[in-house]
């Protein structure tokens, strides 16, 4: 029987043949993750964007900033709204219509990771305490689902936030917000002339070309490892993901502290040693991702 037919009919036997020799069908050893590449500023209409490829998995993240009223219980904080979408083009199994479970799961996980790793300081997003703050609308579109979507989404989200340029904003005496360079002219004169009523407030968030105002320069790195018959398969692609008994995603930050360990059930349990190996693999991945980010942002 030819290899392609054998692969379709007996996927587990086919995969086992490779794994027993310590390799995988795409030629990688069991412990090697795919190469990463990061590009920034790919969407010109967005305030910040980045495109991340891990092997063939592609995620595009874009940031749009809008001025909103902060919530009552956090008047000094801006907020971040993360949505991860798995559109129908990304894989054969996704369909248009309702948000899939995987997309909702990824959205929440990316939001949690960005929050816990303190990638963005919400206090920096405040324009006028209690009145105006920035809302960062971060959308991640997975253009190609070839496994480990969460890893690509986390990296793309961090890249887009780092690429984000917060425009100049000023609030005038009537409480109107003007965004853009021209808004800062004339506000100083108005303050001098104003006699009663509200004083004009002029708040400069940043100058237009200055970068890294939104992020705190922390870049969390995520790595998914699959468990297959007692072996650890690092960074499985989508074909391998379908065969895995369970997936463990570990997210670490720059200092090596663990930001998240996610194992959503599955067909097998993970022992302590296996989890320790997954954490070590995630730590080893930091350097590759850091290099890719540095290449994009230098």
């Amino acid at each position: 029987m030819e290899a392609a037919a054998y692969k379709r009919l007996y996927p587990h036997e086919y995969y086992e043949k490779f794994v027993r020799e310590g390799a995988r069908p795409d030629g990688r050893p069991l412990g090697r993750a795919r190469p990463v590449s990061v590009a920034r500023g790919v969407v010109s209409t967005a305030d910040g964007s980045s495109l991340v490829k891990i092997g063939r998995t592609t995620a595009l993240a874009a940031v749009k900033l809008e001025v909103v009223t902060p919530t009552l219980d956090a008047p000094d904080d801006g907020n971040i709204d993360v949505t991860v979408e798995l559109p129908p083009m990304c894989s054969a199994t996704t369909r248009p219509g309702r948000v899939s479970e995987e997309a909702a799961y990824c959205s929440r996980r990316v939001a949690d990771v960005l929050h816990d790793a303190k990638v963005v300081d919400p206090k920096k997003l405040c324009i006028d305490p209690g009145k105006f703050a920035w809302r960062v609308c971060l959308d991640v579109y997975v253009l190609d689902h070839d496994g480990c979507v969460l890893d690509a989404a986390v990296l793309a989200a961090t890249g887009a936030l780092r690429d984000c340029v917060v425009p100049v904003v000023s609030v005038d005496e009537r409480g109107e917000v003007s965004v853009g360079a021209k808004a800062s002219d004339g506000a100083g004169d108005a303050a001098a002339e104003n006699e009663g009523g509200e004083k004009t407030k002029k708040r400069k968030t940043t100058t237009t070309m200055k970068r890294c105002e939104v992020t705190t320069n922390v870049a969390p790195v995520s790595l998914t490892t699959g468990l297959y018959r007692g072996r650890l398969i690092v960074d499985p692609n989508s074909e391998e993901e379908a065969l895995m008994e369970t997936l463990v995603t570990v997210c670490v930050d720059d200092s090596g502290s663990v930001v998240a360990v996610l194992k959503p059930g599955g067909d097998a349990e993970a022992t302590e040693t296996q989890i320790a190996h997954c954490v070590a693999a995630a730590r080893a991945r930091r350097e590759t991702c850091a290099n890719a980010m540095r290449d994009a942002f230098s």
Partner: protein, 272 residues
């Protein structure tokens, strides 16, 4: 590993869980039900099934499990939707889904009050309700919640205040099954070998928030397993007590009926 000093605000040591209460068969209309209580966190779980599922949602190979999580007040949020997915994935591993193709069961979890550690309590309650409903399971799903408190370290079964103050929290679920070994705690029943303190911890589901070191996480895996083993011991004792009470009820009922029949027969014979 964890200290024995009562350093927590409610007087517990780091390894102490809150007092657990479980009531089985508490909802009449459900196939199986359970109420799980850990101090002020209370959850009701109900299992309905086996049910017919419409053709679009059916699975020809296995049982379809639907999980519904309702909060104590208000409409279900996206966090509740996410809990539904997590609990469903854990239950799909524990329930013998291949034994019931084309059928479905629905597991409904209602939070009555929440004071920390609610994800673990939802899982424990779901497991207790499945056992009450006599669903075929491969093992007993036990969960525990943990937190890392600054200055104290890893603590088990945090209250809501402790969770807010923690630098990291985690929920761990384990599927205890297999050969039994003697249980030092409890009334001397058997404990599955994988739940014993010496065994390596095998985690089914883990969910974490916050930042922690690798050592802290591995400690949480082991401590979580010990706490889940305590929940297992408690659950098994509660089930045994319930079954003993049922048996006693049935036996007295039967004995009474046999005596009444014997009396009647005697009367008839004397009369005849």
């Amino acid at each position: 590993m964890l200290s024995d000093i009562a350093v927590r605000t409610d007087g517990r040591t780091p390894a102490m869980m809150r007092q657990m209460h479980m009531e089985r068969d508490c909802l009449e209309r459900a196939t199986g039900s359970a109420r799980w209580e850990q101090d002020r966190s209370v959850v009701y779980a109900a299992v309905y099934g086996p049910m017919e599922i419409r053709a679009g949602k059916q699975d020809t190979d296995k049982l379809v499990i639907e999980v519904v999580v309702r909060p104590a007040s208000g409409a279900p949020s996206s966090a509740d939707k996410e809990r539904e997915v997590t609990i469903r994935r854990a239950l799909e591993h524990v329930v013998k889904t291949a034994a019931h193709p084309r059928c479905g069961i629905r597991v409904v979890l209602q939070t009555v009050s929440s004071d920390g550690g609610i994800d673990a309590i939802l899982l424990n309650a779901a497991c207790a309700a499945l056992i009450d409903a006599s669903v075929d399971v491969t093992g007993v799903l036990c969960a525990s919640s943990l937190a890392v408190l600054p200055g104290v370290g890893v603590v088990v079964d945090p209250t809501e205040d402790e969770e807010t103050a923690a630098t990291a929290t985690a929920t761990m679920a384990y599927n205890f099954r297999g050969e039994g070994v003697a249980n030092e705690n409890g009334d001397g029943g058997l404990l599955p070998a994988m739940a014993a303190p010496e065994a390596e911890a095998e985690v089914l589901t883990t969910l974490t928030r916050g930042v922690f070191s690798e050592e802290a996480f591995l400690e949480m895996t082991v401590t979580g397993r010990d706490a889940a083993a305590a929940a297992f011991t408690f659950m098994m004792e509660a089930h045994d007590r319930y079954l003993a009470a049922q048996e006693a009820h049935m036996t007295t009922g039967l004995t009474a009926r046999i005596e009444a029949l014997a009396l009647e027969l005697e009367r008839e014979q004397r009369g005849a």
